[in-house]
């Protein structure tokens, strides 16, 4: 069971920490990784990532080739070219920028290019809105990329670093999206533990892909046309790559834990093992929920939280094991699939199919709408009689 650090551990951690936003944390991770190429276009709330990283490069703290392109479509196109040629490539975007990239994200995934993207999760137009929800990342849900949603600035830093060897694992070779909640994480300063530059460099190692296009000793054609006789086989390969992710991520997470003491899993179980009621959520809201869970636990209520960090590939088995014994589960989605239930709910429902818990689905926080502890307490209260709320519920909406 994951518990909060003791007061002494917290003080020791704060002594070593730097006060950084999630965006700065991601930029520091990139400085330490020092990718070869970084084609990028600014967009709120991702801009502080590229702004901070550009300063590092201008100051000579990283030797990355930054390409200032004219749109996110071009950013991803250039990233595909650079990664195909044989360079370690990263980029960053949010919201409409991710929407514009989507066509090429499918191509990067199908060409099996290990490009790591930092995402500042933001609502999609319209109406135009710059604040957080997860709708943008959900656009990439079926594209074939690995997707993480992090809870805080520390995770934003750590997952940027872990994503590099995960993406480049030869059984995987897929792009990775590391989503951090716009403003709530990207622009909020928190204490972060940074690792030594040299340790991060050694951790990520050298970039090595099987068929770099510029290797003239092994000439290849990349990204060609497929007829019906081979297209399906190449799609099946992408699923095989996804199937290899859990083991590859475990290895990466173990190595990272050996380096940092921070061991991450695809999911985080918080006070779940004897819980009768539980909430499932992704992103920064999990932090607020842990506080509420603690409060309710003190009042003797058997409640818990399951935070999903890895959305693709979805850790179906782990979610089933974590929630199988819980009687009542509420899934809180920060995105909608209009005309159906929330995307996270559908994954959790599939994972729990036949396992027995009663389920509710809530949508919250669209376009940056606040989620208050009282809202979370109400969800736990509603879960006492889950059958009364079978339809999708909306938290904090005026109706």
């Amino acid at each position: 069971m994951k518990t909060k650090p003791t007061e002494a551990e917290r003080i020791e951690m704060l002594r070593r920490a730097k006060l950084l936003t999630g965006a700065e944390g991601a930029a520091h991770a990139m400085r330490q990784i020092n990718p070869d190429v970084f084609p990028v276009y600014p967009i709120t709330p991702q801009t502080p990532i590229i702004q901070t990283f550009s300063k590092f490069v201008a100051d000579g703290e990283a030797s990355t080739e930054i390409i200032n392109v004219e749109s996110e479509h071009s950013a991803m196109s250039a990233a595909i070219g650079a990664a195909t040629a044989g360079g370690r490539t990263m980029t960053a975007t949010a919201s409409q920028g991710l929407a514009l990239m989507i066509e090429n994200i499918y191509i990067a995934a199908s060409m099996r290019l290990p490009i790591v993207l930092a995402i500042g999760n933001r609502a999609l137009s319209g109406p135009i809105n710059i604040h957080c929800d997860h709708s943008d990342s959900m656009l990439a849900r079926d594209s074939g990329v690995i997707q993480f949603f992090v809870e805080n600035a520390q995770e934003a830093y750590d997952f940027m670093i872990m994503s590099v060897p995960l993406a480049e694992n030869h059984d995987v070779l897929l792009p990775v999206l590391v989503g951090q909640d716009g403003f709530t994480i990207t622009h909020t300063a928190e204490p972060i533990l940074l690792e030594e530059d040299e340790d991060v460099q050694n951790f990520v190692g050298e970039y090595e892909i099987p068929y770099p296009l510029l290797n003239l000793q092994k000439p290849t054609t990349q990204g060609p046309f497929d007829m019906p006789d081979y297209y399906f086989e190449h799609k099946r390969q992408q699923q095989a790559a996804m199937d290899a992710v859990p083991d590859a991520f475990d290895t990466v997470a173990n190595h990272y834990a050996a380096l940092t003491g921070r061991r991450y899993d695809a999911i985080e179980e918080y006070r779940l093992e004897d819980a009768e009621r539980a909430i499932v959520v992704m992103g920064s809201s999990a932090g607020t929920m842990k506080e509420v869970v603690d409060d309710l636990r003190e009042q003797g209520e058997a409640v818990g939280l399951l935070k999903v960090r890895m959305f693709r590939p979805f850790p179906t088995k782990k979610v089933r094991e974590a929630l199988g014994h819980v009687q009542k589960v509420a899934v809180l989605d920060r995105a909608m699939s209009f005309g159906s239930k929330g995307p996270l709910y559908m994954e959790v429902a599939e994972a729990l199919f036949g396992a027995g818990p009663s389920m509710q689905n809530y949508v919250f926080g669209l376009g940056g709408r606040d989620l208050f502890p009282a809202d979370i307490r109400q969800v736990f209260e509603n879960l006492k009689n889950p059958e009364e709320m079978r339809e999708m519920q909306y938290i904090g909406i005026r109706e």
Partner: protein, 110 residues
């Protein structure tokens, strides 16, 4: 037709490894004309080599060599871009020396 392979038997991502595949001869796509070169006029600028949409212009080091008719589709780009008019299009059924190389107005032996 090659035997169709299983999904785990082929390179990932649609990558084609040049040495592993049959190179289909596409010269049969020509529609009536093919290029020929007068080496007296050629200045080895290799603009034709650069512009050929296939790999039908052969070079030897940095020198122009001739045409690989097995892969030439007769698009005439090479004749169009040639700055000295050394390359001309001739009827496909006209007999030309190997690689289309002419010197002193006659066939050039290597």
């Amino acid at each position: 037709m090659n035997e169709l392979k299983k999904y785990h038997e082929i390179p990932i991502g649609g990558t084609v490894i040049t040495k592993d595949v049959v190179q289909p001869k596409t010269g049969g796509w020509r529609m009536g004309e093919k290029p020929m070169v007068n080496l007296d006029k050629c200045v080895n600028c290799l603009i034709c080599w650069l512009d050929c949409p296939d790999t039908a212009v052969l070079a030897e080091g940095t020198d122009f060599f001739g045409f690989e008719y097995d892969y030439c589709k007769g698009c005439a780009l090479c004749a169009e871009v040639c700055p000295t008019d050394a390359i001309v299009m001739v009827p496909d059924d006209q007999e030309v020396p190997e690689y289309g190389r002419m010197l002193n107005g006659g066939p050039h032996e290597n």
